[in-house]
Amino acid sequence: MTIDMTRWSEAYLAELDRASLALSADRRAELREQISGHLAVEVAGARPDEQARDLLQRLGDPADLVAEATADQPAPADVSASAHPPRPPEALGPAPARLP
């Protein structure tokens, strides 16, 4: 495991945390757990010549992961026509703890 890979992984998870604010707390926590677990395995097994950016490129854009996580949900209603405005991010609870 290289310092570079660990740093890139943490940056990726931070971006995922930002991108997933609109998910429900349980979906957000599950996605976080899955991706942090994946990164831990990948980083631990990375070849010496493997680049962090290649690993993260294979993983994909965090926004795409979030989009996939909501693929079974109906499209959000027109906010301007809604009587109930969307909850602020803080109402969704704190971001899951970071990897040790």
Binding site: R27, L31, Q34, G37, G60, L65, E68, D72
Partner: protein, 149 residues
Amino acid sequence: MYDMEPDLAMNPADPAVADALDRLRRGAVEPCVLTLLISAPAYAHDIVRALSAIPGLVTSEGTAYPMLSRMRRAGLVQTHWQESPSGPPRRYYALTDEGSLAVAAFARAWPTFRHAADTIVRTPPRAEPADSVVPSPATTIPTTAQESR
């Protein structure tokens, strides 16, 4: 005109190719995942690597995880944690009875669908003689009803 051999050199960054792949994935990738689980439960990371090893099957490794979660919520798979000889416990995915039924139904339907699509796509459009009796599927002129859909 249409080379139907797998194009391993295709460029998924091409927006048109990416869009076509995205449309094809819907409905086809989940049964592929279920098929991977027929023989035994599998560790999530191994499922993801198996899917990403085949070009074109998933958008990226990461998108396979929320797909697995969606299949669990749909009752097609169930998960359990298992101790690992190296590292933290691992989440394993296994077929439910509903998932087994779904993959069996897909296995029956897929050859028919694949053959039907191939019949259309594999036949390059070509000029038919004026006295041709039966046009090939690719050259069949759509009816007004089909066009209006």
